[in-house]
């Protein structure tokens, strides 16, 4: 499908397709390097998001009012505003207060904070999806809240959480294209740069779409495998 589109667009662009093709072939390695950044940044953000999400998810379920409020506010804010705005405000506004921030670490922090909010909700609903009888059984054996959580609930929530987590990974990967705005050298940014020099919009963005599609497809195939493997025990 994307190939057809590229073809269709190539015609409309009214440009000899040879030039567009040359632009892509000349820049393919450069693009793949950008894809490397994309995956790398997304993966690190996801790790950060998981840690934050665990706290936020547990916090939202906590019966400590203040924790619950803070977690809810965090989750609501980052889910309620466009990621682009978050990236911009963090990069130019908040992070410079703390350190001499560079695009890549800022990107990881911004995406990490954003995905933390989504993962927080995933973890919360994963925990709530564990049968209530499980916590009752654990408590009836004399475990306290924390022991029941760590030994009984979280290991089971883990499995429930895998599929939405893979979806979040894919969403985050695609969202990382917004980091172009703060000059992170990821796939979309490199696409933007090549485009600006060549004006080959269709070829460049078509190729970028194909690369994103391949990466997300790989992740979802791996995700399905992981899910299936976990389902068997």
């Amino acid at each position: 499908m994307p190939l057809v589109e590229i073809f269709g667009l190539g015609v409309i662009d009214n440009i000899t397709s040879q030039y567009g093709y040359k632009v892509i072939s000349n820049n393919l390695v450069y693009f793949l390097g950008g894809a490397g950044y994309t995956v790398f940044i997304t993966a690190l953000s996801l790790v950060m998001g998981m840690i934050l999400g665990l706290f936020a998810g547990l916090g939202k379920l906590s019966n400590k009012k203040i924790l619950c409020f803070l977690s809810t506010a965090y989750i609501d804010f980052f889910r309620g505003t466009p990621l682009f705005v978050q990236i911009f405000l963090l990069y130019f506004g908040i992070l410079p207060l703390f350190y001499d921030n560079d695009p890549v670490t800022s990107a990881i922090i911004a995406l990490g904070l954003n995905s933390g909010a989504y993962i927080g909700e995933i973890i919360r609903s994963g925990i709530q999806a564990v049968d209530h009888g499980q916590i009752e059984a654990a408590r009836s054996l004399g475990m306290n809240q924390r022991q029941a959580m760590t030994h009984v609930i979280l290991p089971q929530a883990f499995k429930i959480v895998i599929p939405p987590m893979i979806n979040e990974f894919i969403a985050l990967l695609k969202d990382s294209s917004l980091l172009s705005a703060i000059t992170v050298p990821e796939l979309m940014h490199r696409g933007d740069l090549v485009f600006a020099n060549t004006y080959q919009a269709t070829w460049v963005f078509g190729a970028i779409a194909v690369i994103y599609f391949i990466i997300t497809k790989i992740i979802s195939v791996i995700g399905d495998k992981v899910e299936r493997r976990l389902a068997t025990d």
Binding site: G133, A137, R139, S140, L141, G142, M143, Q147
Partner: protein
């Protein structure tokens, strides 16, 4: 052993326990019967404080559970509970289900915990299922593992909440047999059940609950053969 004094419990508007008084002597087996929704499970859950009471006191072995300073986790270790739907930990093998609490809570070392667990598995007739996940067990086997899991904490009291009513009929017998054995060994037990045969044969006392109060209690033969209260009579006529 267990004293329940004037316990009230409501969920929102719904009054479920309306002043329940109830004693269990050491080594006694008390069977609780009554229609659905009468508060039997809630009573059991108030006994080990899985459900906080609104008022009234619960004592186990002289300690007041309803006292705010009581370490409830400590006391729950002495009160085993078996649920209708087993509630085994599906991510752990049979053996791990049984050893988890002793290792994590009591700090017993793994080898000792496993030795005890194997003994208990022997007792419930499932030594060969030690390394199987619950998903592969039949309902009757699951419930027997659940009993072994509760026993692994060496409780002074065992609470059973309709332990056989989720089982296929041909598996009811194997679970009741394990419970009967436990009773004969002298375990203090409170059993909510619809198995009138078991109540009659094993119970030292039968308690009939309806609409949040204990309507009638007495020796099994008295309750079953000669119920005094019209509500008891109506219930038994449907069930027997």
């Amino acid at each position: 052993m267990i004293q329940v004094i004037d316990v009230y419990k409501s969920f929102g508007q719904l009054q479920v326990l309306k002043g329940v008084n109830f004693q269990v002597a050491p080594r006694e087996v008390v069977c609780v019967i009554g229609p659905s929704g009468s508060g039997k499970s809630t009573l059991l859950r108030c006994i080990n404080q899985l459900e906080a009471t609104n008022s009234g006191q619960v004592y186990i072995d002289g300690e007041e559970l309803t006292h705010p300073k009581t370490d409830i986790n400590q006391i729950r270790q002495q009160v085993g509970m078996v649920f209708q739907l087993f509630n085994l930990f599906p991510h752990k093998t049979t053996l791990e289900n049984i050893t988890m609490a002793p290792i994590k809570i009591k700090g017993i070392n793994k080898a000792d915990a496993e030795k005890l667990a194997m003994e208990l598995l022997g007792k419930v007739g499932l030594t060969d299922k030690a390394h199987v996940y619950p998903g592969k067990l039949s309902g009757g086997q699951k419930q027997r593992v659940a009993i072994a899991r509760a026993l692994a904490m060496q409780p002074k009291v065992m609470l059973f909440d309709e332990p056989t009513s989720a089982l296929d009929p041909e598996m009811v017998g194997e679970v009741l047999a394990v419970m009967k054995n436990l009773a004969f060994e002298g375990m203090t037990m409170v059993v909510v059940t619809h198995e009138m045969g078991f109540a009659r044969e094993v119970g030292d006392r039968v308690v009939f609950m309806d609409e949040g109060i204990i309507v009638e209690e007495g020796l099994p033969q008295d309750i079953f053969d000669n119920p005094q209260n019209p509500r008891t009579q109506a219930f038994l006529s449907k069930v027997l």
